[in-house]
Assembly symmetry: C2
DNA sequence: ATGAAAGCGCTAACAC
DNA sequence: GTGTTAGCGCTTTCAT
C-alpha cells in the first residue's frame, strides 16, 4: 500500500488530481530530504549510492513524475522549442513537423507548433504564446521570410533558426539549402534521357529562395551547353494553381518543351493537372520534375520525379542549431550556418523525349535511381 | 526609458533573458501591489478602474508577459491539451492537427502533439511527457484503439476523448462518426448516375470502424434494392498498398463493377493507381469514391469524389468535449457522446457508367454538389 | 554527502 | 478594493 502522505503543504489528493505525487511524497517515503530526491533524480554524482537506490525505489513505489512546470520555473529553461511554419496545410510541412518532433522529443525537448498563415495578427499572438510559454528557442521554417515576425523575434535575443536567409545577428542561425546541386541533378537527369528543350516554372520571383532556384536552373543548363529561351521560363506561385496557370501558358506557346522542371512540388503537381486536361501524356509526351519531394509526390499519377530536400536533415540541423544556441557549452556553439543537401529521386514522371529512339522502341528508360514509391 | 528595477528578489536582467519582466516590475512601475497587477491581468471586476488603467499602462511600458509556467504551477491547470494520433505521416492527420490547433489556441489552450506509431515504447514515453507537462486533457484520435494506451490513460482519471469507441468510464468522451449517412450519400450519388454494379473495398475487418463502414455500405445498397455479390466485396488495409492489391483482385475477377466505393481515401487512391496501370480510365470506365476527404484527394488525377468526415467538426467536438471535462461548470459537462456528421464531396472520379446513354452522348454528368477543388 | 531554506513568477486566502 | 503573505513543485545555495 502506498504510504499516506500528510504534512502541512500537500494534503494528499484533495485539490489536485490523484496521481499527482510530489517530490515531498518521495522524500518522506525514502526517509530523506527533498534535496536528496532532487539530486538523485538529476543524477548528481555526489549522492550516496545507497540513498539513491532508496530514492529510486520510493519513486517507483509512489509513481512519481517530476513536474516540468516547476522545474522550468526554477531552472529558467522550459525544454520547449517553438516551430513556426507558414501554413501547416501546405503539404511540405507535416513531414518537417514530424521529423522535428521526433528529434526534439528524443533529445528531451517538447515542441510547440504554430503557423502564421501569412497573417500578422496570428503571428503576433503566436509569438506572445511562445514567449509566455518560455520557449528555449524558435525555428522559423517559413521559406520566404516574413518581416515583422523576424523583427519581433530578434528583439528578444534568444536562439533562432531561419531557412535560407536571415538577419546576420548574434544567436541567429541559418540553414543553407544547396539548391544548386539538387537542381543540377534534375537537369542532368533530363539531359541524360535526351531532353534539350527543358522549361522551368519558377516560384514567385519577389522572394529570395525562388530566385536562387531559378538561377541554379539556368546555371545548370548553361553548364551543359543548352540555352534556355525566354519563352521557356515562366513564373508560378509555388502553389498548385500557379503551376496550372504556368503550365497552360507553356502549352499555349509555339515551341513546346519536352520536359518541365518546377521550382517546387506543388507547382509540378499543378503542371501535371494542366497536362492531364490535354491529350498529352506524362511522361510519354512531356516529362515533369518537381522540387521538395513532399509526401504527395509519390502518390501522383504518375508518381513524380523530384529533387528531395531532406526534411530529416532540415529538422536535424534546425534542432542542432537551436541547441547550440541554448546550451552554453555546446560543441558547435559558434557555428552559424548549417548546410542542407538535396538529392534527386527518380520516379515515373520522366522518360525519354517523344520521338527519340528509345521512346519509339517503347522501351522503359533506364532509371539512374531506384524509385522510392 | 524603462524604469530600472531593483529589489532583493529580481536583480534585473542578470541570469534571466532580457525581456523577462516579472509581475513585480509592473507592480513597482504602476505603484501598486503585485496582487493588484494579478487581478488586473485576470480582469477581476473588483479592481478600481483607475488602478487597472495604471497597471495596463505599466504592463505596456515594461513589455510584461505573464509567465505561463508559474501560472500553471499555482492554478493547477496548464492550459495544455494533448493530441495523440497514430501516425502523423498518415495524410489524414495533419489537417486534424491543424484544426485542433486553431481551435485550441483560439480558446487559450496550447497543444502538445504525439504520434504513437503503433509503438508501445513510444506511447509509453509520450504518456509520461504529457503527464509531466501536466496536460489538462488528452484527445486520442487513433481510429482503431490501442489497448495499452487506453489503459495507461484511464488509470489517471482525467478528461479524455476517443473516436468511435472507448471504454465507458467517467470523464471519457466519445466522438461518434455518422458513417451511415455519409456512405449512403456516396452510394446514392453512384446510383443516381446509373451505377448498379458497385464494389466495396473495406478496411481491415478486425477493427471496429472498418466493420461499421462496410455495414453501412451494405445497408445503403439494400435500401435501394441492390444485392451486392460476394465477389464485389474485398478487404483492404486502409493504406494505398492495400487499395492497390484489393483493386487488382477486383480487376481480375469476372464481373467488373462500374464503380468502386472505398472505406477510406488512401484505399481509393490505391485503387486509382491500380486502374492507372490498366487501359481502363477513371471515371469513363469505372468510378471511384473515397472516404475521409483528405487533403490529397483533391490533388489526385482525376480529383477524387469522396465522403468528407469533417476534420473541423471532429476537432471542434474533441475540444469541446475536453473542455467540458476540464471546466467544472461547463454547460455540456454531462454530455459524453458527440455526433460527427459526414458529407459527400463530388469531384471528378465519378461519372455515368460506361455504355449508359449519357456516357455515349459524351456529356458531362450532372453534379449534385459543386466540386471543391 | 546531506538537509534547511530561499526563491523561480504567479494566484488566492486572508486581513484591513 | 487593496495589500500581505503563503504556497504551487522544484533546484540550488549555504551550512553542517
Amino acid at each position: 500500500m502506498i504510504a499516506s502522505v500528510s504534512h502541512s503543504r500537500n494534503q494528499s489528493s484533495e485539490r489536485k488530481r490523484p496521481g499527482s505525487v510530489s517530490i515531498r511524497d518521495v522524500a518522506q517515503r525514502a526517509g530523506v530530504s527533498i534535496a536528496t530526491v532532487s539530486r538523485a533524480v538529476n543524477r548528481i554524482p555526489t549522492v550516496d549510492p545507497e540513498l539513491a537506490r532508496r530514492v529510486w525505489k520510493a519513486i517507483d513505489e509512489v509513481g512519481y513524475l517530476p513536474n516540468t512546470q516547476a522545474r522550468a520555473l526554477v531552472s529558467g529553461r522550459s525544454h520547449l522549442l517553438g516551430l513556426i511554419v507558414s501554413e501547416i496545410t501546405n503539404p511540405f510541412f507535416p513531414e518537417l513537423v514530424q521529423e522535428f518532433e521526433n528529434l526534439a522529443t528524443a533529445q528531451g525537448y517538447e515542441v510547440l507548433i504554430g503557423s502564421t498563415n501569412y497573417d500578422s495578427a496570428r503571428t503576433e499572438s503566436l509569438m506572445r504564446r511562445l514567449l509566455q510559454r518560455n520557449v528555449d528557442g524558435v525555428a522559423v521554417m517559413t521559406f520566404g521570410v516574413e518581416e515583422d515576425l523576424v523583427k519581433k523575434l530578434v528583439e528578444r535575443e534568444f536562439p533562432l533558426v531561419f531557412v535560407d536567409a536571415g538577419p546576420g545577428l548574434p544567436n541567429i542561425h541559418v540553414l543553407k539549402v544547396d539548391y544548386a546541386e539538387g537542381i543540377r541533378q534534375g537537369v542532368q537527369h533530363l539531359a541524360a534521357l535526351g531532353h534539350r528543350k527543358i522549361a522551368f516554372i519558377s516560384g514567385p520571383l519577389e522572394q529570395r529562395s525562388p530566385r536562387v532556384r531559378r538561377e541554379a536552373f539556368l546555371r545548370a543548363m548553361t553548364e551543359i551547353g543548352i540555352h534556355v529561351p525566354a519563352e521557356h521560363l515562366v513564373e508560378g506561385t509555388h502553389t498548385m494553381e500557379g503551376g496550372i496557370a504556368a503550365m497552360e501558358r507553356l502549352l499555349e506557346r509555339g515551341d513546346l518543351p519536352t520536359a518541365v522542371m518546377c521550382s517546387n512540388d506543388m507547382t509540378a503537381i499543378g503542371a501535371l493537372h494542366a497536362i492531364y486536361r490535354t491529350p498529352l501524356k506524362v511522361p510519354q509526351d512531356i516529362s515533369v520534375v518537381g522540387f521538395d519531394d513532399i509526401h504527395l509526390a509519390q502518390f501522383m499519377l504518375p508518381p513524380l520525379t523530384t529533387v528531395q530536400m531532406s526534411c530529416k536533415s532540415l529538422a536535424a540541423a534546425a534542432i542542432e542549431a537551436l541547441r547550440a544556441g541554448i546550451e552554453p557549452d555546446h560543441p558547435k556553439a559558434k557555428q552559424k550556418e548549417w548546410p542542407i543537401s538535396t538529392q534527386i529521386v527518380v520516379r515515373q514522371s520522366t522518360a525519354f523525349p517523344p520521338g527519340s529512339l528509345p521512346a519509339r522502341m517503347n522501351k522503359e528508360p533506364a532509371r539512374p535511381t531506384k524509385p522510392r514509391a
